[in-house]
Symmetry: D2
Subunit: 415 residues, 4 copies
Amino acid sequence: MKTPIPDYLGQILDSVRDRDGGEVADYIPDLATAEPERLAAAVCTVSGNVYSAGDDGDEFTMQSVSKPFVYALALQELGRDAVFDAVGMEPSGEAFHELSLEEGTHRPMNPMINAGAITVNQLINGEDSSVEDRVEVIRGFFSELAARELKVNEWVTDSELEHADRNLSIAHMLRSHGIIRDNAHEAVLSYTRQCAIEVTVRDLAVMTATLANGGVQPVTGRRILNQDVCRLTLSVMSSAGMYDAAGRWMATVGIPAKSGVSGGLIGTLPGQLGIATFSPRLNPQGNSVRGVHIFERLSEEMGLHLMAADPSGTHAVRSIQSDGEDTVINLQGPVNFTAAENILDEISGREFPGERLILDVSRVSGFHRMGRKMVKEGLRRLREDGFEVAIYDPEGVVADLEFSDGTHAESVEER
Amino acid sequence: MKTPIPDYLGQILDSVRDRDGGEVADYIPDLATAEPERLAAAVCTVSGNVYSAGDDGDEFTMQSVSKPFVYALALQELGRDAVFDAVGMEPSGEAFHELSLEEGTHRPMNPMINAGAITVNQLINGEDSSVEDRVEVIRGFFSELAARELKVNEWVTDSELEHADRNLSIAHMLRSHGIIRDNAHEAVLSYTRQCAIEVTVRDLAVMTATLANGGVQPVTGRRILNQDVCRLTLSVMSSAGMYDAAGRWMATVGIPAKSGVSGGLIGTLPGQLGIATFSPRLNPQGNSVRGVHIFERLSEEMGLHLMAADPSGTHAVRSIQSDGEDTVINLQGPVNFTAAENILDEISGREFPGERLILDVSRVSGFHRMGRKMVKEGLRRLREDGFEVAIYDPEGVVADLEFSDGTHAESVEER
Amino acid sequence: MKTPIPDYLGQILDSVRDRDGGEVADYIPDLATAEPERLAAAVCTVSGNVYSAGDDGDEFTMQSVSKPFVYALALQELGRDAVFDAVGMEPSGEAFHELSLEEGTHRPMNPMINAGAITVNQLINGEDSSVEDRVEVIRGFFSELAARELKVNEWVTDSELEHADRNLSIAHMLRSHGIIRDNAHEAVLSYTRQCAIEVTVRDLAVMTATLANGGVQPVTGRRILNQDVCRLTLSVMSSAGMYDAAGRWMATVGIPAKSGVSGGLIGTLPGQLGIATFSPRLNPQGNSVRGVHIFERLSEEMGLHLMAADPSGTHAVRSIQSDGEDTVINLQGPVNFTAAENILDEISGREFPGERLILDVSRVSGFHRMGRKMVKEGLRRLREDGFEVAIYDPEGVVADLEFSDGTHAESVEER
Amino acid sequence: MKTPIPDYLGQILDSVRDRDGGEVADYIPDLATAEPERLAAAVCTVSGNVYSAGDDGDEFTMQSVSKPFVYALALQELGRDAVFDAVGMEPSGEAFHELSLEEGTHRPMNPMINAGAITVNQLINGEDSSVEDRVEVIRGFFSELAARELKVNEWVTDSELEHADRNLSIAHMLRSHGIIRDNAHEAVLSYTRQCAIEVTVRDLAVMTATLANGGVQPVTGRRILNQDVCRLTLSVMSSAGMYDAAGRWMATVGIPAKSGVSGGLIGTLPGQLGIATFSPRLNPQGNSVRGVHIFERLSEEMGLHLMAADPSGTHAVRSIQSDGEDTVINLQGPVNFTAAENILDEISGREFPGERLILDVSRVSGFHRMGRKMVKEGLRRLREDGFEVAIYDPEGVVADLEFSDGTHAESVEER
């Protein structure tokens, strides 16, 4: 069976192709010459499947779409506190080129506006890094996320630098408040080169899916970022990513997103997907006209909305199978509080025929602290009810088999 | 086995009990006499299990916690457009008592600030409704959400009305802009009585879980609100619920929430849980000091964060079982794009032994448009590959068995 | 000779009569029925001459034109500090109906916006005053300024009270911050009645000329206000009187002014004139369309601009006359630093023929502290130069004839 | 007689000498090394007398004190409309280094903030001017105002350029909006050199007195600026000169003023005086601590307040002398409406003994349009009353002797 998903993506592209409003960004000469009809979309699941349609091989510069990734890199490199000292995380309610510095601290309001992104860029590779080394670190990180060597478009860089007054204005203001220390022109050069790294929609979908997947690149399986870093990055994208219409975007689309003036737009559903679109014509807010429509359709037709209150339950118990003597309780997925509650609920209301219960956690992707505690306590209580209990944990996700009373669960090697 | 969950909630309460900073709200005399040490928490899952600890039987007035529910009621009664004409949905970045009217339209920025909530209250039961009838509709709706008869605390109402200058100021301003038409004093009376409806944390947890559950009250199983209404309500809660620190709350807690000056705090994880806490002492932003700490711990320890990028996959395929001739593909959960992709991915890569494939959708809670389309197309393509295909759909969730080529899937009565 | 001034005022009225743009205030039913073609202007000099043209006998309600006068009354009654505690004096850059409360203190920004004017009204006649008594004090004060009994138009009061949502909103907000203590409805009633006191343009010109004249009613010659009070009132009018275009008004008109929605507009040139116009049609900022044009012409054609840098010198020395023995130095006007410098300059460069110098200050309207000191010191130094010196001061404006060295000037009874 | 005025200025300096709060500007290294105890004051009358005390020979760089003068130069060179297209004239209510661009136009709010001053600097000597030529034009103009050759302090210029991030930020932002066209670094260089022109307090007093004197340098008697230009410059100084406390400054000091971070402070009383002080320690608003105190004392003790409502009358009639046959009416000062009213009032109420009236205007400094019209009409009406009328106008200030009925006044050659 050939998957129909690329066809569906193609249909969505066709449905927005006649949305020919908007203008290509004209303030950067090189972007102004972009072929405005180009159109592409890609989706990458956290399981590593990538689907795409349209001009999915076309490369374009990332521009502001680079912001959340460099923010994630800074968090990973320096830790949360050091980054917070430099940049806040409140929405600014303003357009992307506004200064939006916090009163008092003069920190940029968040890393999704230019002031914040220029500041974050400066954090990479240490204060004393040369521009070249800093950009190389970023390019290398992006390449790892995309699982291929990306490169900086120097022509676009030069073109943008000729019209960089707003960013220079911002950089000088940041310097005047001591937020950045580097020469303003070097700061803008460094940020501009970050923005000029070229990608396809497929690259962006995979990169974004890495954030959605808690930091593990879903195609290569390599852990690139910590879960905390991803959670924080997505949180800031969610509240500050779409500039001055955060509330409306959350209500109508509900997909944390970030756009760039070259026409790129990325979105993420934590634990599910990375999404990317490309279409150069922009609306007055600087977002891709067709990209916004694609996201609206993805949200509406595909049921992809962060607040979609699907009464899913959690299906954390994959199966419970008894063979007279033994009962194997087969768990799946990540076990947070909600999943653990689901497990305890299913177990506590059930009669088990034999004397032995084996908890098979081989399909559990991970335990949150409380989820682990709850499941182990359930097991302990079952033992108090008279069962023999054991855990089948070939990958050691439970880590520690000690119960709250100091006793331990038995571990079984196979089932 | 007795579930340990209430014990865990109790432990969390104990861990925050010594956070004795903050002050009870003093601007409402009746609230100022609240016993500041009271402390309670409750959780309700979308499967209808309710857990609680502490003073979980104590009643307190809802205050601003009532806002999202009345907003949901207005959306349900009048539809999205009529409500949007009256109240916006952008965060205001301001404290709850600010006017925060949009420039030009003079609409309140969102329904979570008082100006918005007073306006939304006026939408209920028609413009010409008496205060008594309007409040009775709201009280009835809240009672249905809580699955017990709630009542208005008239003593608190009277007490608040004596100190209602801010709300009267807001109501007069709204009237001056034609946003509300009722007499300002009646508007404030109506809103104040809404705020004075009394609940316990268990009530709030169940009510909030109804929003998390797409509108179906999880204990009674009654559908009270449409899914769209819940999604929109949660979206607005997410961007505007915690007043002027939306970004930080999303980053550190990640649970869409709403607080009230009586000490209540509710939070929701769409598709998972409703959460409620109660502790009267407030921080300077007007949020319950201990409530905020409880939510931080729930988020951190229990792994409850909207952006927690758990690489869950979706486990939409519960099992695939062959008995030589037939293969039964057993689906579960809601089927949106992500789930459908997961299903197609599992099916497309697999060899099936017999000639017949039966898709068992009896455990599917619902299909999104695209999910349905994708799954049916997968089935059609399997038929093209030479299989007989059939659907076991006892509850008719697929609804329409016609394929994209005009043919139909066979329906089987049992499996 | 009959003075041509009323003819000139009439010509200016004719020149703006075809400016028929703008609308009468429609938010107050009674004002909405005003005959929009009515047009009048009046000027009163500090010497007490009143000139007028057009519908100069028509009465209309003062509305916001009442604000500077009640502010002056409050300053006179309570002193500067008490009034400053309640109301600030910075321009708000906002329209008249905005709240414009200062951050932190929540004081209204200035007394020329409604929030400030409502607060100032509450200061009159003590906190415990009845509305009736308070309004009677104000009406009495206005009558004294106009030198005739003015009365409150109760019909307009009632009409405005039916549409007083904005002011009620403001009053409730002020109460909620503890800025005013009276019942909000009574505060608005009191302010509304203040606004409904009826005047003609001739009344307004005389009232305004009293401020221009340092507090002495120029027709009756009665001192009603202190000089300090007038200076402060005019200062606030100058920076905050014309709402959100203070800079442009100062640049193009340069006459501190205050307008009201009934069509009145007053302006003042300190030490020179009070001016008043009346024409009901308003521009979008709420200022009389024709009134603004009249003031522009007054400023341009009549040379009435606060910043008109007329190289006037001060002519503080009216004449110096010698009869061989005695030289009489005849001073005039108020003697501040500039005038005193002018006097010393004229005296110090001159040869006097006889042995005796008489300083005639009978035409001096008053001495500023430094002016007095300088003139006396000049006299003392002339004595050191060998002259006999004496002062002719029939009204005692010098007050104290002691010199800096402890000696005294001789006083002469006549000259 | 030696004038005591310098003594009085010295006493004022002594009275503020112990005000040792505040700090010298530290963001410009060269200013940070200023001797903080230096203190000087100077006053220049419109008649050209200059008085000074303290360190009145010390030179310091003008900094922001240069702003009103370059604004005046731009108005003189380019006319009002061209300058208004580039810079607004509303107060910004913000500190001097804020961007304060108008919404929509992105024009700087006014020429007294840095954004406005940088823009105005760019208007001088044409868009294509080199920095060197532009600064030379400004230096030449300042030298003409001061009546001595001033020079640019290149050391301070260089020092400031090393710390010019704020101004560079502003210049880049202005460029990005197309408000200025020059290279941002050259714009800042040009503005910084303007600011680094060195003066003494005596220079500043004379320069400021030129504005107070309607554009005629009072010492040299040369007309340098038009009256309109001065009026507009003083108006903008009055509403926007003292940054964010315009209302309080107007109320308490009442002298339109401008300060600079090097410790200079200038003020002007139109038609009276230019004032300058120098003391390097600054308050948190960036104004000279002692300078502010000196201005407060000048205002209070010397009676120098723009709103000082001195009941001066105008003394426009210097004398009326009859020798039986002829009566000579001797006028003085500038004749605006107020003066003309005063003249007509004095004439119309008086009996003249002979048959001939001679109006002596040899001491009249100038006529405003309406003043001329009124005085001529009064003369015409006196002729209608039966008098022979004639004008003695050796300097031709009346210009046109035609009456409103087409007849002419007789001109006499001497009196």
